[in-house]
């Protein structure tokens, strides 16, 4: 083995730094009176049987002064956290800003929210999924809801991912702070985070800051992946004020800025991605007699995304592609418990403005710049109502839920409207759509056997790109994409089922879901159109397929060997085809994961193996090729110790232990994944 033997990486230099970091942090030692209590992963301990199709990814626990210990790699990017979940996969275009995939569906079919707030990325090339605008420093957990179980957050097909911000709790804890720092050898990633919280009976404020900087990473075998560097910081503030025992005001603000983010899989990089995300909520425990948990939130966010190719040495033509997305929204929800019923009712709405430009600079300096609007200032207005009722039955529960929403689009920019009218002379400037969702989910228990099943219907409107995109280049299939304003809503019928045996020691679950999606929206080649992007193969126009079928089957096992040792394994199979039997893109091949975990008061450790079989069902029409099978191993080790009343937690590990060169089906243009990577984090709590 030659871990430190690589000639092309700066890892040698940096492994020394790890030691320095450690030394410094130890020196920093101060006071320690927090007891490192174990995290409770089980968050669903309601009196009635939970309709448990939600996966909760824990990121931090407020009660712990030292955060993020649970994860194998504590200061990993949010993407890494999501990737470690059972349901979520990540599409990678580089080392940063991975795009979540749930049930083999990504951004356009999912709702990704921050504390229920709708936010829409400002990149026409999907370089800025919402998950890139928050960081692990300010999140407490992530709720992943599959299919129409995510309808609470919006009109979805694949499901919803709600990123929940970490908040104080009006406990008289006074000032609490912590500092965390991390380092990764492969791409010389340096991470520094700090947290300072204050809390008393009537007031709390939480502040978090995190900074990350990484150089190019190195693939397995030693090849440097150019343009995979990134730098970002995230600042978040949230506070609460108790008006009285029954009412409180909560406000949150996030500032996130990434600079010089490379996207090795794409022809362009991002010089700036910036988000301001703010909200104010009013929470009242009792409301209108028997209603409870009344929460009303107003929010606004604005995203600026500056994409260019100024760092690329060799391009056919220079271009700038800035994009902007502003969203204003609200929701108001309350619960009502009546006898055997638990109701939730929610009114929500948002207004989004999406604008993106493209300026190309001709090689002949005497020619004028070429300009177009790739997102023609589309204003989306959505107002909806969601309701659910969880009914307690004998040894069972049933959840009925539904959403009705009205959505309108307005192409506000005349230049943009005229551009689209080149393709659609008859198109209207404004349009309305009605969106509907209904779902029933049933859960019953027979001794050790849990059985869950559900049936649902939902639809969604096209995204701005699908409806109004104008020559959006997709480097994956090498085509320019044109939206279709008259495209039909996509509608899906979903069936799911899960059987689970649960004992003290052993948990075995088999779950599956099936989506029959009518009017599935996808880009299809139009041979009559001429490409705009130099080197593109053709032009695709978004269209409705007659239908597409997707199914996912997962076998999930967890075995508690003893108090300290736990083994978990997962095997999943996915398939997606259209009405003609054509394979859909980005469908996972057979994938597996196996983790052996050790947890004691002082130490945590894990060894993980994960991999996938050959991607047999790929589709070259969508730019896919056969991705080879792979298996990679990772290991991590963590310990905490008390020093002079200060608490220090150290975690170190190795990812891709054997420096395997591989890429997965979610790697854009087959960019190779990171090779061997040694990481270390040190957290220090100040109390």
């Amino acid at each position: 083995m030659k871990i430190f033997d690589k000639t092309c990486t700066p890892s040698n230099r940096w492994s020394l730094h790890i030691l320095c970091y450690l030394t410094v942090m130890v020196f920093f030692a101060h006071q320690w009176n927090g007891s490192a209590q174990e995290l409770k992963v089980d968050v669903t301990t309601d009196s009635i049987l939970p309709i448990n199709l939600q996966e909760v990814i824990l990121i931090s626990n407020y009660k712990k002064a030292l955060e993020h210990q649970l994860h194998q790699k504590p200061l990993a990017t949010l993407g890494t956290y999501l990737e470690a979940s059972k349901k979520v996969n990540m599409i990678k275009r580089g080392a940063y800003a991975w795009e979540p995939v749930l049930n083999d569906m990504s951004t356009e079919r999912l709702s990704v929210t921050i504390d229920g707030m709708r936010i829409f990325g400002a990149c026409t090339d999907r370089m800025d999924p919402i998950t890139s605008y928050v960081d692990v420093s300010n999140l407490s957990d992530i709720h992943v809801a599959s299919g129409q179980q995510g309808a609470q957050h919006g009109a979805v097909i694949g499901g919803a991912i709600d990123l929940r911000l970490e908040k104080g709790n009006f406990k008289p804890e006074d000032w609490v702070g912590s500092v965390e720092t991390g380092f990764e050898s492969n791409n010389a990633a340096r991470i520094v985070g700090a947290e300072l919280n204050y809390s008393n009976n009537a007031f709390y404020v939480d502040t978090d800051i995190i900074y990350r900087k990484a150089e190019n990473y190195v693939a397995g075998g030693g090849e440097e992946v150019n343009f995979s560097q990134f730098e970002k910081y995230n600042l978040s503030l949230n506070g609460g004020y108790k008006l009285n025992d029954d009412q409180k005001l909560v406000a949150s603000f996030i500032y996130d800025e990434a600079r010089d983010v490379g996207y090795p899989a794409l022809p362009m990089d991002v010089s700036l991605a910036r988000a301001f995300i703010g909200s104010v909520s009013f929470v009242q425990t009792k409301f209108l007699g028997s209603f409870t948990n009344w929460e009303t939130k107003l929010y606004a966010n604005t995203i600026t995304h500056i994409m260019d190719d100024s760092q690329r040495p060799d391009v056919p033509i220079r271009m700038d592609m800035p994009g902007w997305s502003d969203t204003y929204g609200y929701f108001s929800q309350a619960k009502l418990s009546l006898d055997k019923h638990q109701f939730l009712i929610k009114f929500d709405g948002f207004y989004n403005r999406s604008l993106a430009e493209m300026t190309m600079f001709p090689n002949d300096p005497n020619e004028r710049d070429m300009f177009m609007l790739t997102w023609p200032d589309v204003r989306t207005l959505n107002n909806g109502v969601y309701g659910e009722d969880v009914i307690k039955l004998k040894e069972a529960s049933l959840k009925i839920s539904g959403r009705l929403a009205w959505q309108s689009f307005n192409v506000a920019d005349e230049f943009g409207l005229n551009s689209l009218k080149i393709f659609y002379p008859e198109m209207e400037q404004r349009q309305n759509r009605l969106l509907k969702s209904v779902a029933a989910q049933y859960h019953t228990k027979l001794n050790l056997l849990h059985f869950t099943t559900g049936l649902s219907y939902g639809d969604r409107a096209p995204t701005v790109s699908e409806g109004f995109g104008f020559y959006l280049f997709n480097s994956f299939d090498n085509h320019d994409y044109i939206g279709d304003p008259d495209i039909e809503n996509e509608r899906a019928i979903e069936v799911n089922a899960e059987t689970k045996i649960k004992t003290e020691k052993l948990e075995v679950g088999l779950s599956g879901n099936f989506f029959h999606t009518m009017d599935y929206i996808i880009g299809e080649i139009n041979p009559d159109l001429s490409v705009m992007t130099i080197g593109a193969e053709g032009v695709k126009v978004y269209q409705n397929l007659e239908y597409a079928n997707l199914y996912n089957i997962t076998l999930d096992t967890k075995f508690k060997v003893d108090e300290q040792w736990t083994w978990s394994g997962q095997l999943s199979y996915h398939r997606g085809r259209d009405q003609d039997g054509r394979n859909l893109p980005f469908i996972s091949p057979l994938a597996y994961r196996s983790t052996l975990q050790y947890n004691s008061k002082k130490f945590t450790g894990s060894i993980t193996m994960n991999g996938a079989a050959d991607q047999v069902n790929f589709n070259p029409e969508f730019g896919e090729d056969r991705t080879d099978a792979f298996t990679v191993f990772s290991a991590a080790f963590g310990t905490s110790f008390n020093l002079n009343k200060g608490g220090i937690y150290v975690k170190a590990g190795v990812e891709n232990l054997f420096d395997t060169f591989y890429s997965t089906y979610t790697d854009w243009n087959n960019i190779p994944r990171m090779g061997r990577n040694i990481f270390m984090t040190v957290s220090y709590a100040i109390n």
Partner: protein, 284 residues
């Protein structure tokens, strides 16, 4: 009571009168130059008249030029209405003389303003120049006027007129009508004339002009939903639709077909052939 009413009425009427008066008084419409928004290109002084030549453009440019004329009586200072004018631009070249396609000159809604157009095929130079010859008559009298004019290439050097010999051995002049290009489907027109001899250029009817807009600066890409230009008898022009998907420099490749569909000039754009020999250019 009655008196109060009548006083009130009188007041009201005078007020209305007053305000009307005010209205018509304020703008000096009578004396305002109806061509103020155009550029005065030439003042031709002859026969105690000044003939003012106006254009939307700032110069005489090769290609299509629309002109507005006014004839001023230098004695009275007033402009002459209802005159008949004809125009004949002549280019004096070192070896020969020729005219260009031109229109009749017609009256406009303003009786003192006349308009017409000409299509200059080439610019003048130090040895060769254009004369603008006018013949006008009113009140039973006919006058001549002539002035040397400077015909220049367009300031942006973009090609808006083609002079070519067709496969039928005839000489043609194809001129693009002025337009303000937008990122949209634009109305697009051209005029086609046949050169019968050095002095006569009748408009050609019933041909087709196919268009293929391209961006040579961007891999020579095209645009969708263009419509070839077909002859419209009422305007005597070839009209079609030109779609431009972005701003910048566009080359509109052309092919001219006669009534039986034979290509008189122009080639298709292929991977090997980036440009037709017949084209217009624009940049915006």
């Amino acid at each position: 009571m009655k008196t109060i009413q009548s006083i009130f009425l009188a007041l009201l009427v005078s007020f209305i009168f007053f305000s009307c008066d005010n209205d018509s008084d304020d703008p000096i419409i009578i004396d305002e130059n109806p061509l103020a928004e155009f550029n005065l290109l030439t003042n031709i002084k002859a026969n105690d008249h000044t003939i003012e030549v106006y254009s939307e453009q700032e110069q005489y440019t090769i290609g299509y030029n629309e002109f507005f004329f006014r004839i001023k009586d230098n004695v009275t200072g007033s402009y002459i209405a209802d005159a008949t004018i004809s125009m004949n631009p002549i280019m004096h070249m070192t070896s020969m003389m020729h005219s260009c396609p031109k229109s009749e000159i017609t009256k406009t809604t303003d009786a003192t303003v006349y308009k017409g157009f000409s299509v200059f095929q080439m610019p003048g130079n130090t040895d060769e120049y254009w004369d603008l010859n006018l013949e006008y008559s009113f009140n039973g009298q006919t006058f001549d006027a002539s002035e040397r004019i400077e015909v220049k290439s367009p300031t942006d050097d973009k090609k808006r007129v083609n002079v070519f010999t067709g496969t039928d051995e005839a000489r043609y002049v194809l001129a693009m009508m002025p337009m303000e290009p937008k990122v949209a489907i634009n109305d697009f027109s051209a005029m086609l004339f046949k050169m019968e001899n050095m002095m006569t250029f009748p408009a050609v009817e019933g041909y087709t002009v196919s268009i293929d807009p391209r961006m040579p600066g961007m891999g020579n890409h095209s645009s969708p939903n263009n419509e070839d230009l077909t002859f419209d008898a009422s305007s005597n022009m070839y009209n079609g639709k030109l779609s431009l998907t972005m701003t910048g420099y566009w080359k509109i490749n052309l092919k001219v077909m006669n009534t039986s569909g034979d290509v008189l000039k122009g080639e298709d754009i292929t991977d090997e052939n980036e440009s037709s020999s017949l084209f217009f250019e624009m940049e915006f």
